[in-house]
Symmetry: C2
């Protein structure tokens, strides 16, 4: 008998038919002898709709009230899911984040989990009842309802799996696993049966949309076995493993192993140019952005001549106008230099795989593939297992296709 | 009974007394019932001395002959080690890389392992004899002797452990393990009893000198359990594990875990400024450098204004003058722009740990710590588990000390 945490995303429970399909599946798992704890997201686009309603009432809604509002979406979903399970003969109890023991910090809209005390969940499981937990929510030290943010249900599931000591955390979604590239962009992209935590972490940090990057960080830090799979086809998906040797069976001893090509069109580029090259520039810039709640992704700085420096960074496009204005109107006055007009038309294309650092040809092949096809590179950043290039958004998907072929991932 | 691959570096076998100390230790392991296969480096500074002699005879010695010359160092060491083992009652046979079945490519001075056929090593072990294998060598498809390059003995040991299916690969060296920072720079640096492969990979890619980065790549890709330990104190060292949950026991669910601060003073910075912002620049630049055998480390490019771009990158200082000349005399004519004078006085300082991507404060704290102490940042590059800053070489060690304190690693 295995204890499984199964998380179902919004599209998996979008309507009553989907709810019944999920309940049927969980009933089958139970009949096979598995214990199941479920984590459920809000149905379909419900979270978006709640946020939209709030925006019609208030331009800058209070964080505490937004969390109270938005978490109603999952509350509805867990109750309905328990009813659906009942129809399939499965006893089930719903739990809000607070009831399930999710203690978070008080950072509304983007709360972080501090600790989980899942004693009610354990009791429920021991009684033979399926606990159905609302995703992405918790309770702050001040006893306020908190929301973990978008994609937070994945994090809820991973953290719960860790706290319960579950055999596996299964993230059910509308894709059948993790692919070597986005299959919509690269028809020959292949589903990976296995991937390592650190490779998946770099993939989700560079545009692979599912699972949520934050949940991969938690799974990686706490070694929670993940299974990314489909709630539509129910076929086996992608297992995320620590044991990378399973990935290397076919590989020669010292060859670089390029695993995937990712891309991200959701970011914009801000460049601060001709800033005086002196201490404190980056600190002032990035502390101010952090305090404004802007999540900066890629940071690239180089000093070309004594006396001035350029700093480029990417931010989510929905924050870009605000971040650019903050830099132009306030920060630039403190650090000098000038702000280049916002560039919203960028795409970040990344190649991920281990062993590339000892093989300089890996980077050169990426740059050549771009060059041979007239794709200009605007930013470059490298890590031990990744090379990222920022290019024109209109060429990004083409770049992904070309790189998928160039690195031999098509076959 | 465990099968252990034990690798002993140059300082561990520097003179007859050290050889005897190592032989004594191996004899004790055998008496405890372990099977041991040894990998031995050239004694002390022998490799340096051989290279120096060659330089007195020829300015550009032939690669094949250099490999033939340099591999004589390990050949001597393995023969002497077998004699020392004999004095302790341990039967031992020496093997060159070729005899041990290390098939490599034909890239002299920096050969890569393609495949290992260790049947003679297996037979030797089965006969109760200790095989003593020369580190860092192999044989090319053309049957020439090849040298894997500096630090190659670590790679030999890891690859052999994989090929033999050894329980553990123990890399014996002159330090007692992997530290949160260089203990010579940070007196309060602590030895880590455990570290994950991906964190160690980023550490060795950013200046942590031992083990050799390339061996960590191979260990990571093939999941070879590593134990970094001292051949002088023989105490337990640092275990490199895949199971990161062992590292996270004390940590709250979603807190970033900063594990170490590394620095690297061995590189120089080259900047190509005001290059026309068009496709092919990076490809031309980095392919030419790769073909000249220059191992480029950090690459940072950002475009500040339409029409021009700056590219900064770091290379090993010993290649810097040559690389800078290559860029200035040849490459710049093909890509335009101009080369900024070589900057040899840089230090790269990096903070490594998982969970930082979801916590923007981690980067801001690094920049603030630098700023508060008047340390100017010249280059920035980020990955999912690392932030690196290039600073003035003279301030780098101070930066490491400050960051070690700022991230709470002192206690």
């Amino acid at each position: 008998m295995s204890l499984l945490v199964q998380k179902f995303g919004g599209t998996s429970v979008a309507d009553p038919d989907r709810m019944r399909a999920v309940a049927d599946y969980v009933a089958r798992c139970r009949r096979r002898g598995d214990q199941v704890a479920m984590v459920v997201s809000a149905m379909g686009k419900e979270t978006d709709e709640l946020i939209h309603v709030a925006s019609q009432i208030s331009k800058q809604p209070n964080g505490r009230e937004m969390d109270m509002l938005v978490t109603a979406g999952e509350r509805k979903a867990i109750a309905l899911m328990c009813m659906a399970l009942g129809e399939f003969g499965v006893p089930a109890h719903s739990f809000t984040g607070s009831q399930a023991g999710f203690n978070t910090d008080g950072n509304h809209q983007n709360a972080k989990i501090l600790e989980i005390k899942p004693f009610r969940i354990r009791e429920t499981l021991e009684s033979g009842i399926v606990p159905v937990i609302a995703g992405s929510q918790g309770v702050s030290p001040e006893k306020n309802v908190t929301f973990l943010g978008r994609g937070g249900s994945d994090t809820t599931a991973v953290a719960l799996a860790k706290a319960l000591g579950a055999e596996s955390c299964e993230l059910f979604t509308d894709v059948s696993g993790v692919f070597t590239a986005d299959p919509r962009v690269v028809p020959r992209a292949r589903k990976m049966s296995l991937i390592s935590f650190d490779e998946l972490l770099e993939m989700t940090a560079t545009g692979c949309p599912k699972p949520a990057m934050r949940s991969v960080e938690v799974a990686h830090n706490h070694n929670v076995p993940l299974h990314i799979r489909s709630a539509f086809t129910w076929e086996p998906g992608t297992l995320v493993v620590d044991d990378t040797s399973q990935l290397a069976v076919e590989n020669p001893m010292e060859q670089p192993i390029i695993r995937a090509v990712t891309h991200d069109l959701s970011e914009s580029k801000i460049t601060v140019a001709d800033v005086p090259d002196k201490p404190g520039i980056s600190a002032t810039l990035f502390r101010a952005l952090a305090e404004a709640g802007v999540n900066v992704d890629m940071i690239v700085q180089n000093v070309s001549e004594r006396g001035n420096t350029d700093i480029s960074f990417t931010v989510p496009s929905e924050d870009a106008t605000r971040a650019h204005a903050l830099v132009a109107d306030e920060i630039i006055g403190r650090i000098g230099g000038h702000v280049v007009p916002l560039d919203p038309n960028i795409g970040k294309v990344s190649v991920i795989g281990a062993g590339m650092k000892s093989n300089p040809g890996v980077a050169a092949l990426m740059f050549e593939t771009m060059a041979d096809n007239g794709i200009n590179i605007e930013m470059i950043s490298t890590s031990a297992i990744r090379i990222s290039c920022v290019v024109d958004a209109e060429r990004a998907e083409e770049a992904v296709q070309l790189l998928h072929t160039a690195y031999g991932l098509d076959s």
